[in-house]
């Protein structure tokens, strides 16, 4: 094994361990929130909202990083990537997360992960230093990820021309050069990631400008909300696409099936996703009456056009790969398969909510966490767990579907579905989101929160078993030498 390859493997193993540790901690925070809503435990509103802020930001951060780790690792098959940049991103991520947790737990910063303007400047019971530290922590994370994304993009564009990276040659018959689907999806995703991180940079600059101006400069709430959702919505979707890029690359490989080839419709679908995902965030502003109506319509159309083509070709490709043929099922391709199902179901929930006529009913109800937890907890997490499993076993162990693995998967599915159903049912019953406790009128709210907490605990048990299996192999990789 050459030293460069080993270094990449080690840094990837380190990322995986840190991501899983933070994931477990964040699930615990989520369960505590649901227990509080279910009146099983009693947290102060401040504690609830610091937990909510930490939970949301950590989850977004770690699963974005997980997608980047997987893509960086697999990209090595096509282009040379920089170990130094990967390490730099890891160090900044660890520093950023530590600062973030200090901000929320020592500083009691509690605006929610969307940190909507002007909440960071309002006295919500937090320490005065927590707002600048929060902004610094986001800066540290953003710089690390932006440098990483630009570096990967640069490496792709060293080998492929821009039109090849976007697979535009596949719109014509007999393309002279074939662009692997993995390269196309990674390219379009990195573009979205870079755009979303730049939106975050602008938001942070505007927040700092107001913070240091002492009242001489104030921000525009509509602008800040647009930019925050440009960042937040886009990155939350792009991290799913990173996971899908991984599936396109290794699903065939682990299933003893041929690798997926690029076609014109895959190219078209992902080019659509790249363009429309950058404007789909407007659906978060349906209730903002000052937003021009044209942008609201763009928000709905883009939500459909960003998700439906890419979902359709991915589902078609996956079903075509497994239907009527002998497939070597392992925990990896099962996780990928289930993850795609979770992504599609969550995506449907999202599209329902992104439809203006439905949003009037569902806006800021628990339907919103229902759908984003579906495509994250039962979609993106499974994509990344599949990759982690594949990564940790490819040199250390064999991919087998043992009984324990089957039971663990069953726990994950039962826990995940139960936990999500509690959200969906509550959302359909107009139970509001982001309430630390429910008023007496919302009788089903506490009951469904308890159900959610119970099933989330089952999900947590499954994740702990996965963590044990994956982490022990990652530690073996970390201790390996190049000889």
């Amino acid at each position: 094994m050459n030293i460069e390859s080993l270094k990449l493997k080690k840094i990837s193993a380190l990322w995986i361990i840190v991501i899983l540790v933070l994931f477990i901690a964040s699930i615990v925070l989520g369960i505590l929130m649901r227990l509080n809503q279910g009146k099983v435990i009693e947290q102060s509103p401040l504690t609830f909202y610091t937990n909510m802020t930490t939970h949301g930001l950590t989850m977004i951060g770690i699963w974005f990083a997980a997608g980047m780790v997987a893509v960086n690792y697999l990209l090595q098959r096509y282009v040379k990537t920089s170990y130094g940049v990967n390490l730099f991103a890891f160090i900044l991520t660890v520093i950023g997360v530590v600062m973030l947790w200090i901000t929320t737990y020592a500083g009691k910063f509690s605006t929610g992960w969307t940190f909507l303007y002007p909440l960071p400047f309002r006295d919500l019971g937090s320490e005065s230093w927590s707002t600048p530290l929060f902004l610094i922590s986001l800066t540290v994370l953003g710089v690390g990820w932006l440098v990483w994304s630009v570096s990967l993009m640069a490496q792709i564009l060293k080998k492929y021309t821009l039109s090849q990276a976007f697979a535009w040659q596949h719109f014509k018959s007999n393309a002279s050069v074939e662009t692997p689907p993995f390269i196309l999806i990674t390219t379009v995703t990195l573009i979205g990631v870079i755009a979303s991180l730049i939106a975050a940079v602008i938001v942070i600059i505007l927040y700092f400008a107001e913070y240091f101006s002492h009242g001489d400069f104030v921000n525009d709430a509509l602008l800040m909300k647009n930019l925050i959702y440009f960042f937040g919505h886009t990155i939350a979707n792009e991290m799913l696409y990173l996971g899908l890029a991984v599936i396109y690359e290794i699903f065939g490989e682990v299933s003893d099936r041929p690798k997926w080839k690029m076609t014109w419709y895959i190219s078209l679908a992902w080019n659509c996703a790249m363009i429309f995902i950058l404007t789909a965030f407007f659906h978060h502003l349906y209730m903002d009456f000052v937003q021009p109506q044209a942008l609201q319509i763009v928000g709905q159309l883009a939500s459909y056009l960003a998700s439906i083509p890419s979902a359709a070709v991915t589902v078609f490709s996956i079903v075509a790969a497994v239907y009527g043929v002998k497939v070597r099922w392992s925990i990896v391709n099962l996780l990928f398969f289930l993850g795609v199902a979770g992504w599609v179901i969550g995506g449907l929930g999202a599209v329902i909510d992104a439809t203006i006529s439905n949003n009037i009913m569902l806006h800021n109800t628990l339907w919103v966490p229902a759908h984003f937890h579906t495509y994250n907890a039962m979609g993106n997490v499974l994509f990344s767990l599949g990759f982690f499993y594949w990564f940790s076993t490819q040199y250390v162990d064999k991919l087998v579907l043992s009984k324990l693995t089957k039971y663990t998967l069953a726990l994950l599915i039962i826990g995940g579905i139960g936990f999500l159903m509690a959200f969906y049912v509550a959302g359909a019953n107009s139970i509001p989101r982001r309430y630390s406790t429910y008023p007496v009128e919302l009788t089903s709210g506490p009951y469904l929160a308890k159900v959610g907490a119970l099933f989330a605990s089952i999900y947590l048990i499954a994740i702990l078993i996965f963590f044990y299996n994956i982490a022990k192999r990652c530690f073996v990789i970390l201790s390996a030498s190049s000889r």
Binding site: I198, A199, I202, D220, L222, L223, F231, F289, V290
Partner: protein
């Protein structure tokens, strides 16, 4: 030629946004919203009893107009417009109007004469009043008239204040306004959501829209350009990477 066209087009776009933002005023309709109005004792014209602001708003939501009877300027056209607007409303009985003088020189007789001027002295919806606690009252609203000793007049805004049945200020209207604006105020004092947006100030330079109270229209502001900025910068980054890659390959 094409390069010049692009430069000219870009400059034209930017000058449009700059023009759109060059429109600041010291308007402050958003001030004191959801603040409690001061419960001042009131002397109502046509009544010998002392009442209070609370006793009025707890019966029906209130629209408060602040005037002084010796005004040579805005007060008369503003009261006239208000009374005309109220007449135009389809349903105009579910609120009361309180006209309070902020001039200590005004007495009940002055206020009664003012009511007569508009033929409102017998209209039970309209209450013309003076108060001994005018400073506390106008401070709770954020109304700040300035005395000009040369003209012997107050320099003041034409302000209408909407107060709901709990005594909370739900909306302010500055200047002589249309019946549509008045309807928004009436909805707000009945606790119905009404859309509002912060007016431009000198400290708020990146608004997505700038509202022009004269024309009552919204114009796109510099902030809208910022929404597109991440995509534009990303495009530029990709172009720079492509150019650098091509140079390195050459």
């Amino acid at each position: 030629m094409f390069r010049y066209f692009i430069c000219f087009f870009t400059l034209a776009c930017f000058s449009f946004f700059v023009y759109a933002n060059d429109n600041h005023s010291e308007l402050r309709e958003e001030q004191n919203i959801y603040g409690k109005i001061y419960n001042a004792p009131l002397h109502l014209s046509g009544s010998s009893k002392v009442t209070s602001v609370e006793s009025l708003y707890s019966r029906k939501p209130l629209i408060v107009a602040l005037v002084f009877t010796r005004c040579y300027g805005i007060c008369n056209p503003y009261l006239l417009q208000l009374s005309e607007n109220i007449k135009q409303l389809q349903s105009n009985t579910d609120f009361n109007v309180l006209v309070v003088s902020f001039d200590p020189r005004d007495n009940l007789k002055d206020m009664t004469n003012l009511a007569k001027q508009y033929r409102l002295e017998n209209n039970r919806q309209w209450n013309f009043a003076t108060t001994d606690s005018i400073n506390e009252f106008i401070n709770s609203i954020g109304f700040n008239p300035k005395w000009d000793s040369i003209t012997q007049q107050f320099d003041h805004d034409a302000l209408l204040v909407g107060v709901n049945e709990k005594g909370l200020i739900t909306k302010n209207l500055l200047g002589i306004r249309t019946v549509d604006d008045l309807q928004l105020m009436i909805r707000s004092i009945h606790n119905v959501f009404i859309p509002s947006y912060r007016l431009p100030t000198k400290s708020n330079i990146f608004s997505c829209f700038n509202y022009d109270p004269k024309t009552q229209t919204n114009r796109p502001g510099l902030g809208l350009l910022f929404v597109a900025l991440p995509a534009i910068i990303t495009f530029l980054i990709v172009i720079i990477i492509v150019i650098k890659s091509k140079r390195a390959a050459a």
